[in-house]
Assembly symmetry: C2
């Protein structure tokens, strides 16, 4: 019995149960929509979490979505749209199912960071200005300000829905202000304290407000050691700060003026997004948006592959240049793929380490990182070279061949390692995101350098010893 | 002037300023420690954020750390250690600088999820039991329970420092309970509601408590639509749920009993960790813990490289088997690296897509994903094969050679694509984390299949047409 009960709470089954329950609720809601049971629908829908409301809504047929629009107020719909990701859903199409007035009112009621995301995902600038024109002027101005910030900066992530209070208040007065603002604010865990010139002077947690005596003054309990970011701070930097300090929100300031706050849930998305980007570059394919349609998927992967084929043709013509040597010593062909493959693997490793190190903002200098990588390349090259030397000598009973292949391997690895580290370092230095240095590019480039090294070394051996 | 002011708030400079300010404070604190200014130190240290306190503490020389231990209570030190990551810092060494009693009291005062992380990082089981024996019995039992959960599960992430109230309370009574618990709890944004049998029956946000009338009953305002996880739920699944629902904490239940809660900041770490793991596998090198010492770094990269050299020897011996063919047609050597390189790149792409798709829990079946990848492989293979065919034909003015190389390229890409998808799918099916399928492994494996395909096709062409 205990066994069975325990089994019934196995993790997969919990998730399964959750899905079953959701699909039961969803079926009921669809039936309510189809049969015109407005009250039953409104009640059942309200019981869902925002995320589930969003998922339910986008999976409905358009006709039933129009029914939902009829039955929900723009304010209620704003909670649904707050949970949708503009890069996963066609927002323009969803908005076109509503009347312009309804859509504008809904966007106005969303949290401002989300409404800005939604509006900036609209490709048609006419739509954007239409919705802004239909909003209360003050709100439209606020959103327009947010729209101006560059993508992937703190400014583009921040919203206006925070609680800010004057530094002259007592705890009791501040508590009242928080209560008034609680309905609208995206979070009330931290309350920001500003002075009369609207400059940010402190932050206080709701927890502190609750624990301190009502008559205490805000200025005496607030934390004045502020961690802030500028509107043009890169989102990766913002993510690092929030992850390090475990903040649930982070203020964005310019000349000490509080412009907005960034929420931790947006940072979770940023971390996901940045990780998918790094992974994509290493693989030479964009995995951020997966597509099941083979044609689209193939279309995404081909540009890199075809581009690299032309770089690979460079390698082919190098080997072609040494064709007379291959004719004399066809054994040379045997080790081409072993040397290019191993050097490519080593180059990919060093690329990944360099990209990661740069992402973590490690404080080493360019020169120091490069020298470290040269030294690592030498170490790895020597070990791998000696391994190959031993294997080839043993296999072919040919000491000279072993030395030539081993030496070529060592040199090829060293060069690939240095290239793998140097290229992202150089990109970082000239201000390009080092993560765009692609794994396949490094390994194809190292194919070229590897065959150059290999055939030159083989050539010297033939010249000096008359054989390989 | 405006220009200048604006410039002074450029993002890099803001971070720079922050660092300068911190290092000023740090210098002052070190001097206080050295000159025995206990009060000045305690005051200055208290003004730092927890994260900065932690960073300051671990960068001190051991002698000054002992001074800090003398001047801070175990409870104050717990705030510092709550911010340290046991996988980045040698906790055992830090604890040994304290008296066992002080260390035990400090661990007891930490948030339970952090104290469990700290204790499970101790390699010496004697130390672990010593600290547990020095704690109040009830706390030790609670921590021992948490220590039993497997790593990377919800159970290993959860803590006990949440606010839970009885469902019989009114809002006013609940508010009082929250105030009493506020000092100890890790978060008070969500309050969990349990019945007399200690089963979780609802959740209510502090915001709701603040907005509802004092006399309302908790059962009437709480949210009963609970999203929970089981203690053995995988941490990646937990991260997905928290990211989707934007929760700041998530309850862990077994048979409806509330065992603990998981905080969003731990999930940020999980997402980072899982992303670093996936990246590491794709690169064939562990980037989670970077090491600047070349010997250690080389030691991390070599095992994969050397292992793959032996797989690469398989490829070398396949080419060796076709050596008589290379002797007759040395032109064949020219295209080895182009074909193996391109197929390797295609295989890496398809591996990355499959790993990502499995991580996102996409609901496609094994067979469907495999067929999709075969179709994509065919599409990519045909386009790349035709490109190569055209290039080779044009370059060497040899139609047959172009057809042979193009055909080999097409087949090699198809096989690499299918292998890249099949291997992680198979691993997922047999219950191994598909992310361990390494990029270098796939590309080295595809070297082998590529040369097999290439030389066999070339062999047929020679047999049938007498030439390539």
């Amino acid at each position: 019995m205990t066994e069975e009960m325990h089994h019934s709470h196995d993790s997969d089954e919990v998730v399964e149960e959750l899905r079953d329950e959701l699909s039961q609720q969803a079926k009921k809601l669809v039936s309510d929509l189809e049969h015109g049971h407005a009250d039953a629908f409104r009640q059942g829908f309200a019981e869902l979490h925002g995320f589930d409301q969003g998922q339910f809504y986008i999976h409905l047929p358009s006709q039933l979505r129009r029914q939902v629009i009829d039955w929900l107020t723009p304010n209620e719909m704003a909670d649904v749209f707050d949970e949708l990701e503009p890069d996963e859903v066609d927002m323009a199409a969803l908005l076109e199912e509503m009347s312009p007035k309804y859509a504008a009112a809904m966007i106005d009621d969303m949290y401002s960071d989300n409404s800005v995301d939604l509006l900036s995902s609209l490709k048609d600038s006419h739509q954007l200005s239409m919705y802004l024109a239909l909003m209360p002027k003050q709100d439209a101005v606020g959103i327009q300000k947010l729209l101006k910030y560059e993508a992937k900066t703190a400014g583009s992530l921040m919203g206006h829905d925070y609680v800010a209070v004057q530094d002259t208040l007592t705890i009791q007065e501040a508590m009242l202000a928080v209560k008034r603002a609680a309905e609208e604010a995206e979070q009330i865990t931290y309350i920001y304290v500003v002075n009369q010139a609207n400059k940010l002077v402190g932050v206080v947690s709701l927890r502190t407000l609750m624990l301190k005596p009502d008559t205490a003054r805000l200025v005496d309990v607030m934390d004045t050691n502020l961690i802030t970011v500028a509107p043009d701070t890169d989102q990766e930097e913002v993510a690092h700060i929030m992850a390090d300090y475990n903040f649930s929100s982070l203020p964005v300031v310019l000349d000490d003026e509080l412009l907005g706050i960034i929420m931790v849930d947006d940072i979770v998305d940023v971390i996901d997004e940045e990780a998918a980007e790094d992974y994509s570059h290493l693989a030479g394919v964009d995995v951020a948006k997966l597509d099941e349609r083979p044609l689209t998927a193939a279309g995404k992967r081909l540009p890199w592959l075809i581009g690299l084929i032309f770089l690979g043709m460079g390698t082919a013509s190098v080997i072609d240049g040494f064709n007379s040597m291959v004719k004399v010593a066809p054994i040379l062909a045997v080790f081409i793929s072993l040397i290019t493959g191993t050097a490519g693997n080593a180059g990919t490793q060093s690329l990944a380490v360099a990209v990661r190190r740069l992402a973590l903002n490690e404080s080493s200098t360019f020169v120091r990182m490069l020298f470290t990588e040269i030294f690592i390349g030498l170490l790895i090259g020597v070990v791998a070279g000696l391994t190959i030397f031993g294997v080839v000598w043993f296999w072919k009973s040919d000491l000279l061949l072993g030395v030539a292949v081993g030496l070529a391997m060592m040199m090829a690895i060293l060069v690939a390692n240095v290239a793998g580290a140097f290229i992202p370092l150089l990109m970082d230095l000239i201000g390009v995101d080092p993560a765009v240095a692609s794994g396949p590019f490094i390994s194809t480039l190292s194919d070229l350098t590897s065959v150059l090294i290999y055939f030159n070394i083989a050539g010297w051996f033939i010249k000096i010893f008359g054989v390989v």
